[in-house]
Amino acid sequence: MNSEPTTLLPGTLDLLILKSLATGELHGLGISRRIQQITGGTFVVKPGSLFPALHRMEEEGWTSSFWGDSENNRRAKYYRLTKAGRKQLEVESRRWGRISWAITQALQAS
């Protein structure tokens, strides 16, 4: 496992955020930590990239947000997937699958 954080490929941030929210609602830091966790620490999303993406996705209608209390009783803004968001996650996952398969094929070619 590589412990060095890697810069995100373009277009993958949305997919990672959607994926992190698939299991349930999270606040911003939660999303960030979850991505870190599910990618084995490869991707660390900084707030400077996270928040613009979150707000954009909310405007797209993929997520919705609400204010709630965190595990240690702090006010925090939570995000969850909407129906459109779930659909988007499927679309993005399929797209990523195709890309990753294609790239792997390309690299294995001799």
Partner: protein, 883 residues
């Protein structure tokens, strides 16, 4: 669905931006707090926990800014905030803002006012139904003298046009003259237009009451009929519908009222009553005395109409067009009525539009200079914004937005200026001067104003914006002095350019003013002071008899001489400055026998020359002895003697077989119909005793012209005009006068066009001068303000105040003088087109050039000296300490 969500976000971002921002702020803060908590849980000391959290967050403001950038509707939102910022910037610099807005308002206002004239005269449709199907017939003559213009038609042409051109509905009219209308016990002097049948069909005007003239009524000696304008019907006859079919007394003859025109209906004649013209090939139909107007019939084309006109008019027996030009190729073609109606005014209006355009350029040069300086002053602000991460585009956009704001405010104020100046302008114009009923600011004019304002802002914003792109971050942070050689030279060339344009406008208006002065100060050849003149219409059956006419003249002039304060009284068909009729004369004796030529022609009573105080150069003037049955006599003027007798003494010579020339008098300026080269000029004229004019000629003359009753008083006489009207009434109680005026009024009316040209172009030239002065002033004032330190050093090193002032003011003066030279050179070429509207002076007029040079030098001196004087108040010690 997603679209709906997006729309909601867009609206929320736009209208609840504060709440959205607060929400974001809380979110980022809570994120930080969560990070700190996390670090604390990991066992960090509180201070370290917070520092690490802030590190990870990477600057709360930057995060928020990045979110805002990505928001929906961010473009519009930041545009609005740029506008707010721009407005604040402008509000903080009231001097700059006020100068720019006023400059814009004046230049845009002048352009809007002139354009609304162009719009009303050249662009807007005439006030008739389907004006595009209406036209006038132009005569194109290609020969030794080539021309293509509107020409009146004679009786033969009219009959051919009426009967053999089926593609058109045609009509002719015979001008508007004053006649007497009796309504009950009152007699009114009203304007009568004589029109052929179908005239109102061509104009597409349907009477609101009754009908148009029948063909029978339009035949010579047909039944007498009259159609009233709505206003006359209401004001004189109380809008009585029973009037239709009744007989009213017009020219002392009973005429049947057959129709009333609708309210607000306008015709090119602008008459109160209309009577049938009854045109024929005889009488006035022998000459080209009819104005033709045509309308294309449904289904016909202009090509068909032109072919038909050419076919019938080219086979006429009497083709007068060929009289002076026998080998010429003459053809006819129809043009839209709009064009023929506005042709005479078109060059003037377009010249004014051009002048207004120059004003706009001058204003742009000024504003470019001002905004450039402002831009340079803001270099450090720009550098700071660039350093804080603003993009070049954002800086540019800020400037463009400020310019646009200025342009819009200036344009809005400009519309106000235009409204005011247009109102003044229309007050200046004589009634019915323009062939359109009104000049208004309509949608097209407002669109023009908006376009001009935006164009202006683009023009004057371009330079500073280009300059802003070159702002170099490091050097401008380090370098505090902001005026560099390059920008000074740029501003100087702007000043040079605007001064050159100003010089052209000044020279043009100077030439017009000189021309007007020439016309107004022509040697009068009579004493215009102390004369009062009133007209009455003798186009009246009671005066078809020469004896009745003579009796009226005798009794009325005698009664007027009885008015206390009146020194003398007379009647003449015309007075000086008026339009004068003309005729051919044949010399009958000596070596000139058989010579023919045109001469102006005026009948007068014996007292005419005395009353006008015209010097008698040779022989005698008329006396009461010259009657209908005595030797036929004439008095000629000096120009007549010059033209026909080579300056020899004309007294004792005979013309037209048996008419004896008994005297020679001085020339007076008249408005010529014979050979008009200027609005007023002196021309060969013969004076006939009123008693010797024959009956048929008298009838014809009075159909066209109304004679003048003239009295001379030593000084102002209280109630003179009422007394004159009463004196006229003692001779004929049913003879109303058209109104009374002085010779000064008459001159002003004859020269109305020239006066308006002078007033308009003069106003534009003054505006240009003011703008240039402001430009020069701003340049020098700016130099003083920015070189305070340098000036302080120089003075500390021993320069005198005078030396420094000259050195500082030189930049403005040099630019202005260069502009003066350039402007004079340009004028020499460009103003040659004015030759046709100049009288008595050439295009290269020494006096005008001298006046322009003097005016501009004085203004330059003033505009440079005023700001340079501030140098005197500079205290070297203090300026050096301040830096």
């Amino acid at each position: 669905m997603p679209l709906l969500v997006k729309a909601r976000s867009f609206l929320r971002n736009l209208f609840f931006s504060r709440r959205v921002d607060q929400d974001l702020d809380q979110e980022v803060r809570s994120h930080l707090q969560l990070l700190i908590d996390e670090n604390l849980r990991a066992g960090m000391p509180p201070k370290e926990a917070e520092r690490a959290a802030r590190m990870e967050l990477g600057g709360a403001e930057q995060v928020k800014e990045r979110v805002r950038d990505k928001r929906l509707g961010n473009g519009l939102h930041s545009l609005l905030s740029d506008c707010r910022f721009g407005a604040r910037q402008l509000y903080k610099n009231p001097g700059f803002t006020l100068t720019v807005v006023l400059t814009l308002a004046l230049s845009v206002g002048a352009n809007t006012a002139i354009f609304s004239l162009v719009n009303a005269l050249l662009l807007k449709s005439l006030p008739y139904s389907h004006p595009g199907r209406m036209g006038a017939i132009y005569t194109r003559i290609i020969g030794s003298e080539t021309s293509d213009k509107y020409h009146n038609v004679n009786g033969e042409q009219w009959e051919l046009l009426r009967d053999h051109v089926p593609a058109l509905i045609s009509a002719v009219s015979g001008g508007t003259t004053g006649v007497n209308l009796r309504a009950g016990s009152r007699v009114e002097y009203v304007h009568r237009g004589r029109v052929s049948g179908h005239y109102f069909d061509v104009l597409a005007i349907q009477p609101v009451l009754g009908r148009n003239f029948s063909e029978d009524e339009d035949r010579p000696h047909g039944p007498r009929a009259v159609i009233l304008s709505y206003d006359l019907w209401r004001n004189v006859f109380g809008a009585d519908p029973a009037l239709l079919g009744q007989s009213i007394l017009l020219r002392s003859e009973p005429c049947t009222v057959v129709g009333v025109l609708p309210q607000g209906a306008t015709t090119p004649l602008n008459a109160d009553v209309y009577t049938p013209l009854q045109p024929s090939r005889d009488g006035e139909g022998r000459g080209t005395n009819f104005t033709a107007v045509i309308r294309l019939r449904e289904g016909a084309t202009w090509q068909q109409a032109d072919a038909q006109i050419n076919r019938v008019w080219s086979t006429r027996a009497g083709r007068y067009e060929l009289a002076e030009n026998p080998s010429a190729n003459v053809s006819y073609h129809s043009v839209p009525l709009q064009k023929s109606e506005t042709d005479p005014l078109r060059p003037q209006v377009l010249a004014l539009m051009l002048a207004a355009g120059l004003i706009l350029l001058i204003a742009c040069a000024n504003l470019a200079g001002l905004t450039l300086v402002r831009m340079l002053r803001r270099t450090s602000e720009v550098a700071t914004r660039l350093a804080l991460g603003a993009s070049g585009w954002q800086i540019q956009r800020q400037f463009w937005i400020e310019n646009l704001l200025l342009a819009l405010v200036g344009g809005a104020v400009g519309i106000g200026v235009a409204l005011l100046s247009l109102k003044q302008l229309l007050l200046l114009l004589p009634e019915h001067f323009l062939p359109v009923p009104n000049v208004s600011l309509d949608g097209r004019v407002l669109a023009f104003t908006l376009a001009v304002s935006i164009l202006t802002s683009l023009l004057f914003g371009m330079l500073p914006a280009l300059a802003a792109r070159r702002v170099d971050l490091r050097s401008s942070m380090a370098d505090r002095s902001s005026v560099r050689g390059g920008s000074l030279r740029l501003r100087q060339s702007l000043i040079t350019g605007e001064v050159a344009l100003t010089v052209m406008l000044l020279a043009a208006s100077g030439l017009l003013i000189r021309s007007l002065i020439h016309l107004e100060t022509l040697p009068p050849g009579f004493n215009p002071n102390g004369l009062t003149v009133g007209k009455a219409s003798l186009d009246d059956v009671r005066y078809h008899d020469p004896a009745a006419f003579r009796k009226l003249l005798d009794e009325s002039t005698a009664a007027m001489r009885q008015i206390p304060g009146v020194q003398n009284a007379a009647v003449g068909l015309n007075v000086p400055y008026e339009f004068v009729g003309n005729d051919w004369v044949t010399l009958s004796d000596g070596k000139e026998a058989g010579h023919q030529g045109g001469s102006d022609w005026v009948y007068v009573t014996p007292g005419y020359f005395d009353t006008l105080q015209m010097p008698v150069l040779a022989g005698r003037v008329f006396t009461d002895v010259d009657g209908p049955n005595t030797q036929k006599v004439v008095v000629v003027n000096h120009a007549f003697a010059q033209k026909f007798y080579g300056g020899g003494n004309p007294v004792g010579r005979y013309i037209d077989k048996d008419t004896l020339i008994v005297g020679e008098v001085a020339d007076v300026p008249i408005s010529s119909g014979l050979d008009p080269v200027a609005p007023i000029q002196t021309e060969q004229t013969m004076y006939i005793p009123a008693t010797q004019v024959e009956g048929p000629l008298l009838v014809l003359l009075h159909q066209w012209l109304q004679p003048d009753w003239i009295v001379r008083t030593a000084g102002p006489v209280e109630g003179l005009t009422a007394a004159m009207q009463r004196a006229l009434a003692t001779a004929d109680p049913n003879l109303p006068a058209s109104g009374f005026y002085s010779m000064k009024d008459l001159l002003a009316r004859t020269l109305a066009t020239q006066r308006i040209e002078v007033a308009l172009l003069g106003a534009l030239a003054s505006l240009a001068l003011v703008l240039s002065a402001v430009g020069i002033f701003a340049l020098v004032a700016n130099m003083v303000a920015q070189r305070t330190r340098e000036i302080g050093i120089r003075m500390a090193l021993g320069s005198s105040i005078g030396q420094v002032m000259v050195q500082t003011g030189r930049s403005g003066a040099a630019a202005s003088l260069l502009g003066l030279v350039l402007g004079l050179a340009l004028s020499g070429g460009a103003l040659r087109v004015m030759r046709s509207v100049l009288y008595g002076i050439g295009v290269y007029d020494g006096t005008t050039i001298f006046a322009v040079v003097l005016t501009l030098s004085a203004v330059t001196l003033f505009a440079t000296a005023l700001p340079a004087l501030r140098i005197a108040s500079i205290d070297p010690a203090r300026t050096l300490r301040e830096e």
